[in-house]
């Protein structure tokens, strides 16, 4: 069964590739082995039509560009053909080092669906005559993982269709429904984001893929929007997380041999009687205060005074929250 079906489909592809005229279903049935039937028997004819529909669907699933049209204005029935130009992979003259890079790239996917797509894509390149060294390595292997929303969002961005999804931000209790015209997907420092026009906010927004709850629903027609020209996807995600300048200088005393993490961050270290005096660069007093509180009694802040006060305040809060028998530690 399966073998005759595959045989029929290979013959169908060859037949439609070889014809310049559009061939109707009846002409195909009379030509390609496996479609023999009695067109005057309604049941037999129905069975043929179902079979032919399934076969067409299978070719399209595989990506075979099946063209529909009529051979002449007198034809009422649609015909089919495959243009070789549309069917064939164009020539890709890859140098050996380039082919090796493609071979490595195809192995990076940890996501099953994309891994399969990458290896079938690579198989086509090899069928076009590209030789890929399976042993090649680059010295550094990036591990490429994606969130489940990646596939639907890239598909929607490519077809310019709107999407709806449920989005959960930890600070907010319940997920919210968001409606987005997705322009593209960005990998920024190992995390995935989608950038687009938020239909409810009427503004550009980024969403982290890992915060999308459940399925992404693709809605409405294709080509429903046009992303801005000269769009730089990265800039929308990177905007808020650019480099931070550390202009402030704090002085802290650290017990000998302790707080190794803080020592790595310090720009200067001078041994003293009570311990080592470190000079630590910072941008924000509150943030540095939290870091320093983490080191507990291994660190004492000497300057600036506002940092000293912030640390003392935090430490008092910690003690209060962890009082034995304290009600603060018990959920109301």
């Amino acid at each position: 069964m399966s073998r005759t079906r595959t045989e029929r489909l290979v013959n169908l592809v060859i037949c439609l590739l070889s014809t310049r005229r559009f061939l109707t279903a009846a002409q195909i049935a009379a030509t390609v082995p496996g479609y023999e039937h009695d067109p005057d028997d309604p049941r037999d004819h129905d069975a043929f039509q179902r079979k032919f529909e399934r076969d067409k669907a299978e070719l399209r699933e595989l990506g075979v560009p099946l063209e529909t049209g009529t051979a002449s204005i007198f034809d009422t029935e649609p015909g089919y053909r495959i243009a070789h130009r549309e069917y064939a992979l164009p020539d890709i003259p890859l140098e050996p080092d380039e082919a090796a890079a493609v071979g490595i790239a195809a192995r990076l996917w940890q996501h099953a669906g994309l891994a399969a797509a990458a290896s079938s894509g690579l198989a086509k390149l090899r069928a076009a005559g590209v030789e890929v060294d399976p042993q090649a390595t680059l010295g550094v292997e990036p591990v490429v993982t994606v969130d489940p929303a990646f596939g639907p969002l890239t598909g929607a961005a490519r077809n310019r269709r709107a999407v709806t999804f449920s989005y959960r931000v930890p600070e907010v209790d319940d997920p919210m429904t968001r409606r987005l015209e997705p322009w593209g997907v960005v990998c920024w420092r190992g995390r995935w984001y989608v950038v687009g026009h938020d239909r409810d906010r009427g503004a550009t927004r980024c969403f982290r893929l890992s915060r999308i709850v459940g399925n992404v629903r693709v809605t409405g027609p294709e080509h429903a929007f046009t992303p801005p020209s000269g769009l730089d996807l990265i800039s929308h995600v990177a905007e808020r997380s650019g480099p931070v300048a550390h202009h402030g200088r704090a002085t802290v005393t650290v017990r000998p041999g302790r707080a190794a993490g803080l020592r790595r961050w310090a720009v200067e270290s001078v041994p003293g009687p009570g311990g080592d005096r470190l000079t630590v660069p910072y941008s924000d007093v509150e943030r540095l205060a939290f870091t320093l509180v983490g080191y507990g009694a291994d660190v004492r802040v000497d300057a600036p005074p506002e940092l000293r006060e912030a640390v003392i305040q935090r430490l008092k809060e910690v003690v209060a929250r962890h009082e034995p028998m304290s009600t603060a530690a018990v959920a109301p």
Binding site: R3, T6, V10, V13, L17, S18, L62, G63, V64, Y87, A88, L89, P90, D91, L94, E95, E98, A101, V102, A105, L108, A117, A118, G121, A123, K124, L125, A127, L138, G139, E141, P142, T145, T154, P170, E171, D173, V186, W188, R189, G190, R191, I234, A238, A259, R264, F290, V293, G294, Y295, G296, A297, V299, R300, I312, R314, L315, V319, R321, A331
Partner: protein, 316 residues
């Protein structure tokens, strides 16, 4: 689509690919082709037998796909018009283009130029669909990573000065490198650590210094590499369990650290997570601010309280 339909589509794709594949490699040995295509020799023979009865309408001897066999070697002598592979599907183009962009962005690969040339050619061949709506930016090209990669490729053991955040200490170790990898935007050196007598994932940004030793790397044979599909840190049941009461402003930790359980109770969340080390947990939790209160274990609560009180004494 059912599994049977999927299998049928897959086989059709393989057959349409096989003709141009063989056309490009006249006289290839069947065993070599089968290995290359990732199928058994038996499957390959079945595929060839099937192709042999396919061809152009008419289906006479001159219309069918033809092959010449010479012992175990095969040459396609007539292709019936399937002289090229099928064009890339949108998913295939996306998978290759995004992976190449990822490679091009990976610091320290040393072959960025080849990757970028390959990327341009694949994008070009894929046409419209090669213009994948996906951008990739990893941390900037890092000199340290480049040096480490070169050292690892040299194949020798290394001595490293490494900062262990879990214990907040910097140690000297001799390691036998296994591989360098990027996971979630961070570079790691996986190696056999002679000090720990185990494989370890060393974060490259925490290797403060290194020297290449005058002896070849000799990791014990048969080591299993870390499975990093789901990230680098996989909590194991033997690690201490910590329970926290987390306010709204501290909920971000549930995204940042793997948690065992998150129970929502109004504004307060009851979060349990496993930690490698109570000392690390103490530093982390002391520094998390007013939105996090440690509920258990009692030992950790007491340590945090005692630590904070001793620290306060320094200011009196």
């Amino acid at each position: 689509m059912s599994a049977a339909q999927r299998a049928s589509v897959d086989r059709l794709g393989r057959l349409l690919n096989l003709v141009p594949y063989l056309l490009a490699r006249p006289g290839i040995a069947l065993a070599e082709a089968a290995a290359d295509l990732g199928i058994t020799e038996r499957q390959l023979r079945d595929d060839l037998e099937l192709l042999w009865v396919c061809g152009l309408p008419g289906y006479g001897p001159g219309d069918l796909i033809d092959m010449a066999f010479d012992g175990d070697r095969v040459t396609v002598t007539y292709d019936a018009g399937i002289d090229r592979p099928l064009r890339l599907t949108p998913d295939e183009a996306l998978a290759l283009v995004v992976a190449l962009r990822m490679l091009a962005e990976t610091p320290g690969t040393g072959t960025r130029d080849a990757v970028e040339r390959a990327l341009a050619k694949i994008e070009d061949a894929a046409g419209d669909i090669g213009d994948a709506p996906v951008a990739v930016r990893l941390p900037a090209n890092d000199e340290r990573l480049d040096e480490i990669r070169a050292a690892v490729e040299g194949g020798n053991a290394m001595r490293i000065v490494y900062y262990t955040a879990a214990r907040d200490e910097t140690t000297d170790r001799v390691i036998d490198p296994l591989r360098v990898l990027m996971v979630e935007g961070r570079a790691y050196l996986e190696a056999w650590c002679r000090r720990a007598e185990a494989t370890r994932m060393f974060r490259v940004d925490r290797i403060d210094a290194f020297t290449v030793l005058d002896e070849p790397a000799a990791p014990p044979p048969g080591l299993d590499l870390h499975d990093v599909t789901d990230g680098v840190f996989h909590p194991t049941p033997d690690l201490p369990l910590v329970t926290l009461l987390v306010g709204r402003g501290g909920r971000w930790i549930t995204e940042y650290y793997p948690c065992e359980d998150v129970r929502r109770d109004g504004d307060e969340w009851l979060v349990t997570m496993r930690v490698t080390d109570l000392g690390w947990a103490q530093r982390l939790l002391l520094g998390l601010g007013p939105d996090v209160t440690v509920v258990g274990p009692g030992e950790l609560v007491e340590r945090i309280r005692a630590q904070a009180m001793t620290a306060l004494d320094q200011y009196n």
